[in-house]
Structure formats: C-alpha cells, structure tokens
C-alpha cells in the first residue's frame, strides 16, 4: 500500500467499525501516515497498547479486504494489520511531555503515531535500508535534534538501552544524520 491506499483503509475501517477504536501505529505505515511519499508497505503495525475490541477490529478488517494478524506473513499477498507482540516491541516508554501525533480521526476510528523521535528509536533494533530512509524522513520532517533522539533513547526500557546492537545503531544514526 502507498499513502493514498493507507488513508483509504483508515476511512473504510472507520465505516466498518462499530466500537470506538484507537490504533497507535509504528513502522512503515506510520511513516506513510506522516507524509513520506513514494514508500510502500504491506503491513500496518499496531501497538499493543491501542484501544480496540479485537473481534470488532478483526471483522472490520475482513469486511474491507485486508488481513488481520495473518499466520503466514511472508506469503501474504494482501495488505494486513498486525498487532505487534509485546515481546518484540522496542519502543520508548511514552512521556506526557512528547504527545502522540493524530494522523486520522473518524467517527469510530482514531489513528495515532508515537512522537517522531520515538519512531526513530523504535527502529534501532533492526536497521534495514528502508528503516534508514524512514529515519532520514522523520528527522527532516520534524526537525529532530540529536538531543531529541537521546531523550527518547533514555526512555527505552533498560534492557534495550544495554542492547549492543541498539547502542551501535544509535551511534551510526547520530553520526550519519547530525
């Protein structure tokens, strides 16, 4: 999906949902929703702290023709929505000082992304070429400073702050983009 398709999905989900739903998204879909052009992604990563009724969301996804937590992601040909498992989530602990960004507000559905610096830090575990392009975009679009990234990093759960891969990737990002 591209940015236009993503917006259409939000609009269709809003019509299909019957319960008030708040989806917090990250990853490529978050970058698209925040305005990155040209990018495509197949999945919408939903943070587990989002507020939704699973059966309602599952049915809404099915009714608009997108997958919901597919078992075989690698062979999925259709766009899908996936609730990120808690154990794989690398994301700073939210702070009242840096609010989430609302990227869609409908009758039933609100979609938000974590603050841009948190999205950057959330990509430090697995930096692929596409992730670096997302990071370039987020730093430029939100005029992030080195201090913003470091502050966000300081809110990571301690076990991730001590992760050598994440520390090393942080060093590269600070070297390359500031």
């Amino acid at each position: 999906m591209d940015a236009q398709r993503l917006l259409r999905i939000f609009e269709q989900l809003d019509e299909a949902l019957t319960e008030t739903t708040q989806l917090d998204i990250r990853g490529g879909a978050a970058a698209l929703a925040l305005g990155l052009t040209g990018r495509v992604t197949i999945d919408i990563d939903v943070l587990p702290d989002s507020r939704f009724i699973e059966a309602d969301l599952h049915m809404a996804c099915r009714s608009i023709g997108i997958g919901f937590n597919p078992r075989d992601k690698d062979i999925s040909e259709e766009d899908y929505l996936e609730v990120v498992p808690e154990e794989t989530l690398v994301l700073p602990i939210p702070s009242k000082d840096v609010p989430y960004n609302t990227v869609f507000r409908g009758r039933h559905l609100t979609v938000r992304t974590p603050p841009a610096a948190d999205l950057v830090v959330g990509k430090l575990k697995r930096i692929e070429p596409e992730d670096l392009t997302d990071i370039e975009f987020l730093i430029s679009k939100f005029d992030l400073k080195e201090g913003d990234i470091k502050e966000s990093y300081s809110r990571l759960p301690h076990r991730f702050q001590e992760d050598h891969v994440i520390k090393d990737n942080l060093r590269y990002v600070l070297e390359d983009f500031f």
Partner: protein, 161 residues
C-alpha cells in the same frame, strides 16, 4: 512459524539490496563514465539505495582501489545536488525533473548522509565547494525505488543504462 516466514522475506529483501550494492561497486571499478553517472544519481536522488550502501559499509570494507572509485561516485552525487546550470541545449522539463529530484533528496538531508559516507571511506568532503550540476548529471536515469527486486529484474534482463 510466522516469525520465521517474516525473517525470510526480510532476508530476501536485504539480499536484494546487497546485490545492488555489489553491482554498484563492480560498475564503479570499470571506470565507465556512464556507470559512474548512473550510480551517482542513485546515491544522490534514489530514496533507499544510499542507505543500502550505508548498511553494507558498516559490515564491509572496500579495498583501496575500490574506495577511490566509490569516493568519486559520492563526490559526483554531491555535485548532483548543486545549483541547476543555465544550459540552452536542454529543455526546461528536464531541468524541472532534476529540480524535483534534488528537492526530494535535499528534504532528506542527503548531502549530510553522503558526506558521512565519504568520511567513513576516509575522505572528508565537508569543504567541497558548491558549484553547478555537471552536464553529465543532466541526463536523468531511472531511479531505484523501494523494491530492490524490481531493479534486479532489470539487471538480470540486461539493464541498459
């Protein structure tokens, strides 16, 4: 089960980017001006390729001969982000296309990334003077997008620059 499948898809995509980077290094080694221009445009304007090279460079060190050629490509890429030239033999639509490519790249702070890569290769290009985009960069080659497999299909079919 789904995790394993997901990693397979990611590994395939990453391998695709790596193949493109190795193609870039091979092409630069030939010294062909056309190849150099093609890859300089990918570094300067394509959305993801420069980052695929950055990822590769973290884990690999090109030899001295390769390094000089790669630095030449990076310098040409930086030149591709300089001012548009006033040339009469090129139509304004070509200049507009180039300007759009520059705007997209500069919006992503591409100069900074290219200079960081050059430092990693042992040369500081911070003092590189700003000038006009070189004439050979005015011919726009197709850019590699977000899907390395699409470009590789072209390479496998005998891409013509």
């Amino acid at each position: 089960m789904s995790r394993r499948y997901s990693e397979t898809r990611e590994n395939t995509r990453r391998a695709g980017w790596e193949r493109l980077v190795l193609q870039f290094i091979d092409d630069c080694a030939t010294g062909s001006a056309r190849d150099l221009t093609y890859w300089a445009q990918q570094l300067a304007y394509a959305p993801v390729f420069v980052n695929a090279f950055a990822v590769w460079l973290r884990e690999n060190r090109p030899d001295a001969g390769q390094t000089g050629k790669l630095l030449a490509a990076i310098e040409l890429a930086l030149n591709g982000l300089d001012a548009l030239p006033e040339v009469h033999e090129i139509d304004s639509s070509a200049l507009l296309r180039l300007a759009r490519r520059q705007a997209d790249a500069l919006g992503l702070r591409r100069r900074m990334v290219l200079k960081s890569l050059s430092r990693r290769l042992g040369r500081d290009l911070d003092g590189l003077p700003m000038g006009f985009v070189p004439h050979r960069m005015l011919r726009s080659y197709p850019l590699i997008g977000w899907k390395p497999e699409a470009e590789l299909a072209g390479v496998d079919a005998g891409r013509v620059n």
